[in-house]
């Protein structure tokens, strides 16, 4: 029976890196004494002490800025945004300083910003967003959206060891829902590499984050109808693993790009553009995006369900595409 949750996987990765490198420290709101709003850092204060697990005032700009400044002189901060939605309060520090200090100054910014994102938990408009696309647009940032416990652990470790700023979006709805058996020996997952989550030949679904599981369910339903669906899990949304995406589409000739973030300006547009620019002659059908509608994330259950892309929506679109 699988034992490690997605949340525990992040926690294990973080813990291992703090054990491995004394320069790693955590900074954020309610992360030390309380152990984090979602309890990712529970027990860290007791083990690593208050110099390495720092509770701060509610000041996202100062939290990110402190992380950047400490990163300049060789420390490896992991800053937590209590919810990814609140990352807007630290936006200037992320896009103007974390992203640009190496380019404009030659100053390395080896920081990780952890941000619990995503809907499906009745969080409403300010506790459910998927802001990854904002940051994928900013040169200098790396943007990760792990879907599995295995990747969550392997990627948080890689993020901490990376010499550049990494935004690590943890999907809240996966925290305790996803359970896996993880390897006992240490491992990392490379940044910038997508994974083939499921092999197939008729259609590629390119996705990431919580939508991986909707894609997986859709692929299962379509298999029962005789269709072979391949699922590409981007894992890193920027820099985009173009090669893996293009190789899959060249094989299947049909593609759906699926994400929980809203449609316009989402990662999907970029993926579609690259497919049409570089694999156009392989396509047998239009490349289709499935995403949340261009609205805030609503609170009430029927509204949120209508907002979130689902396996049923994917299946319906896939059938149309497969018969195109």
């Amino acid at each position: 029976m699988a034992t490690t949750t997605y949340l525990e996987a992040i926690r294990e990765g973080l813990w291992e890196e703090m054990e491995r490198d004394p320069n790693v420290f955590c900074i954020g709101e309610d992360i030390a004494v309380y152990g984090g709003a979602f309890k990712v850092t529970a027990g860290f204060l007791e083990h690593f002490g208050e110099k390495r697990v720092v509770d701060t005032p509610i000041s996202e700009s100062a939290i990110v800025g402190a992380a950047i400044g400490a990163g300049f002189i060789g420390l490896r901060p992991v800053a937590e945004m209590q919810f990814a939605d609140f990352i807007t309060c630290g936006f200037d520090q992320i896009v103007n300083f974390a992203a640009k200090c190496r380019y404009r100054w030659g100053a390395g910014v080896p920081i990780v910003i952890r941000a619990p994102s995503g809907g499906g938990v009745h969080g409403g408009p300010f506790h459910s967003q998927n802001p990854e696309a904002w940051f994928a647009h900013v040169p200098g940032l790396k943007v990760l959206c792990p879907a599995t416990a295995y990747d969550a652990k392997g990627l948080i470790k890689s993020a901490i060891r990376d010499n550049d700023p990494v935004l690590f979006f943890e999907h809240k709805a996966l925290y305790r829902r996803i359970k896996e058996d993880l390897p006992e020996q240490e491992y990392t997952v490379p940044i910038g590499k997508a994974a083939i989550y499921r092999d197939g030949t008729d259609l590629s679904i390119i996705t990431y984050g919580a939508m991986l599981y909707e894609a997986s369910q859709a692929a299962g339903d379509l298999a029962a109808e005789g269709y072979s669906v391949e699922i590409v899990d981007l894992r890193t949304v920027f820099p985009l693993d173009e090669e893996t995406v293009l190789a899959s589409v060249r094989k299947t000739a049909r593609a759906i790009v699926l994400h929980e973030d809203t449609l316009t300006g989402g990662i999907g547009g970029e993926v579609v553009a690259r497919i049409t620019e570089k694999a156009f002659e392989y396509l047998d059908a239009p490349v289709v995006r499935i995403a949340a509608p261009d609205t805030p994330v609503p609170y009430s259950s029927p509204l949120e369900q209508a907002f979130l892309p689902t396996a049923a929506k994917v299946t319906a679109k896939a059938r149309w595409l497969l018969q195109y």
């Binding site: 420290f25 900074i27 110099k51 390495r52 720092v54 701060t56 005032p57 000041s59 700009s61 100062a62 990110v64 800025g65 402190a66 992380a67 950047i68 400044g69 400490a70 990163g71 300049f72 002189i73 420390l75 901060p77 200037d92 520090q93 103007n96 300083f97 200090c101 190496r102 380019y103 404009r104 100054w105 030659g106 100053a107 390395g108 040169p139 200098g140 790396k142 990376d162 010499n163 550049d164």
Partner: protein, 322 residues
Amino acid sequence: MAVDVEEMLRLYGLMVRIRNFELKMVEIFTARMKAGDFPGALHTYCGEEAIAVGVCGVLRPDDYVFSTHRGHGHALAKGADLNKMVAELNGRASGLSRGFGGSMHLYDPSIGFMGTTGVVGGNLPLCLGTAYASVALGGTFVTVAFFGEGAASQGSFHESVNMAAVMRWPVVYVCENNLYAATTHVAVNCPLENIADRAKGYGIPGAVVDGNDVLAVREAAVEAIERARSGCGPTLIECKTYRHHPHCMVIPEHRPPKECREWHAKDPIESFAASLMRIHATTRDTLDAIEAREVGLLEAAVKFMRESPLPDPATVGDYLWA
């Protein structure tokens, strides 16, 4: 703390270096503009030299300084290389930031100069990082954050000062109140008589000093730095000053002429020179020799810049990531 004459002459030399640098940059930028080679904005520090020199003059090499958009003086006072400064402002590959940054993106960690910035108040959160590191690593180094009175209206000011105060992190906040945020008078930015009065709201000491008096600035800095170094937390020093030039070269003079004249009469370099000669028996020859030395260094730096190549266009995608 008594300051000996030799040290005072060192400070004087740094002030002259900054002034000459700025005037030379104005000259070069003006010529470039006339030639149709628009060089971007230039925020000169003329008139405010006593602050950077007064504060940085008492810092250790391992102390850190975070600067502003008007930061050439801070960089030079902390020990930045004159050649690389002139080169960076003119976009040369030999510049402090390889020509990728320009005036508002100067950085030299080897001397603890942690950068100028183009976002007003943007460096205030960053200074928390080196301050935290001092405590976490068990060091005794301190961090100085310069900012203008306009930046004190930014949320980043509140977040930074509040967090440093709560944590008792070793930061010295130095507000350079030159009365105008771009063209907006301080009265529109702050309802208090002094920015330093805000210190009370953070439970830290606040001090108002004459920002045109290098020794007064130094005295306040010594006390604040000592306080930070000994683990007692941050101090907010407000230096009252005035810039000789308008906000930047592309915004015409907007300040009342009478006000400009009154402040010019309080020029920090001229008044320091006068007191050196009057009180400390320094001769005009000694000051002239310092001036001549600085002129020579600056001319060499301009020559270095002119002989340096512009960056290779093929490098535009370099340096984004490690």
